[in-house]
Amino acid sequence: MTEKIGIYLCECGPNIASKIDLDRLAEDLSKLDDYKDKELIIKKHKLLCSVAGKQFLEEEINDNKLTHMVCAACSPRDHDSTFINVCKKTQLNPYLYTIVNIREQVAWVIPDMEEATDKALKYVHAGMNRVLYQTPLEEKQLDSNPDVLVIGGGMAGMEAALSTASKNRMVYLVEKTDQLGGRSSSLFGLLPVQGENLSSLQRKIADVKKNRFIKIFMNAEVERIVGFMGNFEVLLNAKDNDGILELITGAVVVATGYDLFDANKLENISYTAEDNVFNALELEAMINEKKKVELRSGKEVNSVTLVHCVGRGEVGYCSKICCNYNFKISNYLQKQGIKKITHLVRDICAPTKTSQKFQNSVIDNGAEVIYVDSVNIDGEKLTYKSRKGEEVKLDSDMIVLATSTIPTKSTKEISKLLNLDLDEAGFFQEAHMKINPVSTNIDGVFAVGSAHGPGSIVDALVQAKAAGGKILTQLIPGQKIIPEVKVSEVLEAYCTGCQTCLQVCKYDSIYFDEDKGISVVNEAICRGCGNCIGSCPSGSIRSKHFTNPQL
């Protein structure tokens, strides 16, 4: 059977037609020597992507019974999918069509019409050659699981669970410790503008516990996760729930929280557990437990120095929450009747719309703010270097350190389990700061709360809700997933089983079949990058739609 290739030249309004002589292009194409034995149908159209254009293509394919189609038009980024959808309506397999980019990469970059037409000829000719090497591919459908695994039972994790749990969607909430609430539950209260006490946290914990579509695993850790969006196989080590158990979920939300930087790691700070030096969380815990602030000896406190930005220079980022909570502590101390309160700051961060007003109110009530260059702490002796360069000694009964928030150990472990990218500081890297702020480099995996970067409880709740929204729209119960078709495949006969491809695959989509002694590609995970193909010593891996002859 002779191939019947339909070649459609798009004028794209004046965009292409004014730069490329499409009539000459059509004529030259019809005279190509190597296509003498093939049947060519060459036509031009004003705008192929328009409703009329799509109708025109559909009729052309059906009336002429095309075996292949080439559309010379814009970038595949714009309308490749448009023309693929046209093919899907006809008998022509979409993988027997190709788009040739004669707008962005020819018409718009070459001012001379003759030259541009010559180049377009080469381009379309190459497209015709390629399309003849292409083979029809079929899309597969896979069952998708709508359930959600949430790792971390803090504010962010609980909110993500609450926003996704429903009749058709189970949520498995995994918490490492024996209580829900995360770091927030160790605080004595929230900022006064947020309602001070922790009743909102208690309410959330109660909501999670009574929701019958949320299954909570306490004292549990994730041992292994493999899979892809719609089908993650999870291995849990849940001591309270019969030990090791297996789950299948469609999405994963990682909310592994934060730790505090150890101030003793700094050269200019050294203190012991007997000294009256506390990090903020230790002080919060004390207030929570004793309902007041006192010295380690149990004696009354008359003066407190709060040091901001401890470790900020070393970690390389502002932790965003410390200024606010230091002023919150200050506010508490003032209420307890402590008169001498000093804040040593390098900069003040007032990140939300209420922060500045709140911080100023504490300052107006008598808290002193001193701008310093550096702070030295040796035991309970504190000196600071002022902005003028003077060394000043500052005596106080108690020192409170606002140390930087840093990623937890769990964050690192989970990133290894799931192959998630971390940023320079070790927090989860978002897929795109503005376009996809809570997604990660792996489809179906979301990072929320402080595991994603330093932030307030409000930030954590917003991120958790955003991730919940993504899951609700991406994983619809009962919907099938259609994986990428242009993936790699291993030609069994040639594979020597060297496993080089397993090491180079960035998505962990290749596994080794021990029985057959060969590598096998999981098509649902493969993104078709071709890293394995380039590195296969025996040439046994092939990319569907990007084979060597096609290129």
């Binding site: 962005e104 970059v109 070459i110 541009a116 381009y123 180079v504 078709g528 990058c529 990007f546 060597n548």
Partner: protein, 67 residues
């Protein structure tokens, strides 16, 4: 009169970055010689060294791998 030599350059462009970059060049109406011929790949890691040799054997003066 001989024509001025213009090198023929085959460029393998990653679909996600450099191919998009080439599109951007078009959108910005930048101009570059006609002798650059792009080939789209899913990722620059797809490039087999054999492609480079083949390009030269078939008359390319230079090969650019963008990714």
């Amino acid at each position: 009169m001989t024509k001025k030599f213009e090198p023929k350059i085959i460029s393998f462009l990653c679909k996600w970055c450099s191919y998009t970059g080439a599109d951007l060049a078009g959108i910005n109406r930048s101009q570059y010689p006609t002798a650059v011929l792009p080939i789209k790949v899913m990722c620059s890691s797809r490039i087999d060294p054999v492609f480079l040799i083949k390009s030269y054997l078939r008359g390319a003066d230079g090969v650019l791998v963008g990714g």
